[in-house]
Amino acid sequence: MKNIDSISHVSGKSVYVDDIPVLDNTLYALIVPATIAHGVLKKIEYTGDHSDFVRMITASDIPGENQIGSIIPDEELLSSQDIHFMGQAIAIIVAKSLNSAYMIRDEVHVEYDEYKAITDPRVAFNSGNIIGESRKFQCGDIVWADCDTIVSDRVDMGGQEHLYLETHGSYVIPTERGYKVISSTQSPSSVQKMIARVLGISMHLVEVDVNRLGGGFGGKEDQATPIACMAALAVNITDRPVKLILDRIDDLKMTGKRHPYSADYKIGMKSNKIIAYDVIFYQNAGASADLSPAVLERTLFHATNSYYIPNFKATAYSCRTNLPPNTAFRGFGGPQGMFVIEAAIDKLAEKSGIPAYVLQEANLMKNGDKFPYGQITDNLMLTDAWSKIKTIKNVYEEEIEQFNHNNKYFSKGMAIMPITFGISFTNTMMNQGSALVNIYQDGSIGLSTGAVEMGQGVNTRILQALISSFGVSADRVKMETTNTTRAINTSPSAASSTHDLNGWATLDACNQLIRRLEKLLIDEYQAGSVEFINNRVIFNDRSLSWDELIQFAFTKRVDLAAHGYYCTPDIYFDKEKEKGHPFAYYTTGVAIQMATVDIIRGTYKLDKIDIIHDSGRVMNSNLDRGQIEGALAQGLGWMLLEDLQYDDNGRLLSNALSTYKIPDINFMPDIKIEFIGANNPLGLMGSKSIGEPPLMYGIAGYFAVRNAMRNHKNIDMAYKTPLTPERILMGLFS
């Protein structure tokens, strides 16, 4: 099945927040951002007399709590005094037109006392600026004396802007029943909860409705919330509909990104087997906790990537700096954990003279191996994928050798990247989903779930599950918007788990309805076995059309609506011991990437990538490919291209699309994907979740380029991302 939204997408009919026709009396809001990164707000005033000016809203106007921190309450909606990052909201301008709002905002007068900003996580760490507790995962006993090769180094990873093409936005309408909130959020229930908190009202007065997102990638998991809260606050004060859309410049300036990390490691092996790994992570959390503690935790879960390391210690600190609060981004800390171990293996390979892929293979996780946090693996397809990649590697190697032999000014290299990514929210509580299936008396069906469609195709997958259960065709079903009056207390659409949680919940609702319909057929017709297929129900020697059955059921007073619920079984995690079974299952795969470096210019080209991916039983190859290719692009972009830069004062330098570059069509390598995998009992229709894991194939891009440089000459280059043409050229000449 193709993505069910694609017809309206290609014809430009798909509606996003900014496309909704507004009511006549709508007002337009803009956020006034702090222009310093650290300090105290002394004064803020607008003394102008613009005829379109309606209100300037500041912290003291907030009727409820001025607090939106979701894990730790450390984040004000509007600064009451302290400024923690440049771009922090200090006021909201409300005006009769958007243009006027901009003009008024330019006239707002602000005074600060400015303090020195911290932008480096290590500096923050050294001055004791830590969010929450440090975390430590540990297993075995590290004995360095047992190792025959030991290396240690520092690794630095840059951040990454989400760059969802649709910027943040919200449109809030006052209604008789409270607030109707249209928001570009991955987390409707968080928006609902926070608006209630900020306005000092109960959650039932806030209805949040999400049609679709023009991309989210984690950037709209937590950070859509303040935008919606500010629009709702403006509605509360003006009693008029308010629209608040961030333009790109504001969006880049005000919102958090993927966390930059710095790390120190020491790794040791004994004849190819890694027997000791000690790593410390310094996460650059930005100015408040946001989701950073959870991101930090996943870094630890994935610190050994796909390798079995018996003696292991990882310590992680979430460091508070004066950058915008960094947040969820596809992979959620996993990529940073994985990059460090890959860098460590690369360095081990360099020192020992043993190729990295030999070390990778020798230490690959097998089914039955235990991760440092205690979960024993099963249903991993790693070794199968690896053996397929090995065959491809031989072809790559030959091509590279020949090319490098014949070329003076260009050099090719390659790298392999295995991935093992745990599926579930690591916060066990969040692993729940719900669905509401309504069958109308003519047989047509409306399906509401807690899943937010943002391009990942979750609605299509859930629809697939529903129609396979009812045996009806897709045109009988409408996927409703995600709405907090129909799907309540939902978890954010994140952690690659959305279609599992909401899909299983849908099937639960379907099963209830099928049981009711079966009972009807047994009661009325003494039906034996009942089968739902091809828009019909077959029982005994006869059949009814689905529509006839439903009409009949209605007349017989069968309840034709069902609420379904699902919570992932058997997962738990004990934070005291840092042990448990946090994941339902693992998604795995292996990729091999080839790249060419231009020795003269220091530029590179990503030639091709082959991916062997374990998607369980593939439930939609079109969507699965799309997820792999899109995630890969983001992974490669993070590793090589996307250069997020702040200066020492905490000012974003890559502050527009002219200076922050993401992959374009020419950047991407040729991609070949082969699916392997077996039925996964915990995945929807036997599949494995695919949203985040393939991003980490992009790590192969970094090492392919590095190896291409190395194939030209020995290099002594710090492990720092992104590996831009500047770093490449400087590396070649170091």
Binding site: D5, N622, A656, S658, E726
Partner: protein, 441 residues
């Protein structure tokens, strides 16, 4: 001023402020919401629309970024948005659906419009998408969809039959012919708007813009005896695809400049007047020893381009003056242009450089090397060139040239690279010139 044009099927006549971006007119005044806002600075392609211009009774369609195009610039033209292209049997749309070339959908109308232009102009589909950013798909499905479209168009010239363009396109040439074009005057000359409109749309609203360059008789490329004369309103695309220009220099590298929809509107004169230290056309034309013709409507003057750039963003041009023509001498030269940026396409260079050389028996008789991103203006490396005269075109000469070049420059560290990097990179690009020029022998 009254703006009259055709938007999809409809003739529009409007007196609203012609300075507003076409994008806002489409979305807010015509309520056509299929054209999206992704950046408002030409860098994402979500706002891409087709612009059709009548030339010899035929309408030439090109993609443009509607966020940077003032409404006044579409006077007398045909603007086509996704709503004006959509059709249930449109093979671009059908192939994009079948290959999964759309995920969140926000970028998708822009891609459909760009592929439409590629189909109309028989352009390489991937090249035509250099101005469209997609954050979701990783582009593979889009590449496959484009290839399928082009395979299916192999055996036909009839885009109407394939529903690439709808039936109403057939009488657009006649309808455009009926629109009388009225020239306006103003105090600020606007070319394509690709500099003026970046992050400055609101400031521009109250200005008196003169929309004449883009629409007027200043769009020509005419070879003379000794030079090629280029009208100031000539777009980058027209320059790159012109046969007289490509007889003089290899234009393949110029596709590294901006993107297709930006090149379709950005003018050469605009690039010079913008005077960015890293302007690609400034650097290219410096090496080509271009002259520029300037007028203040009472008198003309001609200066050499290397006298035009004075200091940072200061140019040899008075308030009341405008450029009307650029002249490139038709010397027999070997030419090479180098540009390195973080992303290969649609990115501003960290350093760029152009080199034009005339040799006899491999001895350099004349040479001009320019460099961008290493000084406050686009720089002609005079001393470097001087040193190279009468020397052999070889590694030794170029190596020594590098050591002189680094003394002529004053790069600063910024978001596009550290000064150490830029210094090294310029030397590497000079080496690259040699490799490329030797390859041309």
């Amino acid at each position: 001023m009254t703006v009259e044009f055709i938007l999809n099927k409809e003739t529009i006549t409007t007196d609203i402020n012609p300075n507003i971006p076409l994008l806002d007119f489409i979305r807010d005044h015509q309520m056509l919401k299929g054209t999206k806002i992704g950046c408002r600075e030409g860098d994402c392609g979500a706002c891409t629309v087709l612009l059709g211009e009548l030339k010899n009774n035929e309408v030439i369609y090109k993609t443009i970024t509607s966020c940077l195009t003032p409404l006044g610039n579409v006077n007398g033209r045909h603007v086509v948005t996704i709503e004006g292209l959509s059709h249930p049997d449109n093979i671009i749309q059908l192939n994009m659906i079948s290959t999964g070339a759309t995920q969140c959908g926000f970028c998708t109308p822009g891609f459909v419009v760009s592929l439409t232009a590629a189909a109309i102009n028989k352009q390489n589909p991937v090249e035509s998408l250099d101005g469209n950013i997609c954050r979701c798909t990783g582009y593979n499905s889009i590449k496959i969809a484009s290839q399928l479209v082009f395979d299916q168009l192999q055996d036909t010239d009839n885009l109407l039959a394939k529903n690439i363009v709808p039936q109403y396109f057939a009488n657009i040439p006649d309808r455009l012919g009926d629109i009388k074009f009225v020239k306006n005057t103003g105090t600020t000359i606007i070319g394509g708007g690709t500099d003026l409109y970046v992050q400055k749309q609101r400031v521009l609203l109250d200005k008196q813009l003169e929309f004449s360059t883009h629409n007027s008789d200043l769009r020509y490329i005419i070879p003379d005896k000794d030079s090629i004369r280029i009208g100031a309103g000539t777009t980058m695309s027209e320059f790159i695809s012109n046969k007289h220009i490509s007889e003089l220099i290899d234009t393949e590298q110029l596709k590294l400049i901006a993107s297709t929809p930006v090149r379709n509107i950005a003018t050469i004169a605009g690039n010079l007047v913008n005077a960015s230290p890293i302007g690609d056309f400034s650097v290219i034309l410096l090496a080509l020893n271009a002259k520029i013709l300037i007028t203040n409507s009472t008198k003309n003057r001609e200066i050499s381009l290397d006298e035009f750039f004075v200091s940072y963003k200061k140019i040899n041009l008075q308030q009341d003056e405008m450029i009307i023509e650029i002249k490139i001498p038709k010397d027999t030269i070997k030419f090479n242009f180098e540009k390195v940026s973080k992303r290969m396409y649609l990115d501003i260079a960290s350093v760029n450089s152009a080199c034009a050389v005339y040799t006899e028996n491999n001895i350099i008789r004349s040479i001009r090397i320019s460099a961008g991103g290493v000084y406050e203006i686009p720089l002609l490396l005079r001393e470097t060139a001087e040193y190279m005269i009468a020397k052999e075109l070889n590694e030794k000469t170029f190596k020594e040239a590098c050591s002189i070049a680094v003394k002529e420059i004053k790069p600063i560290s910024d978001v596009r690279g550290s000064k150490e990097y830029k210094t090294l990179l310029l030397q590497q690009l000079i080496k690259a010139h040699l490799i490329q020029l030797e390859g041309q022998q």
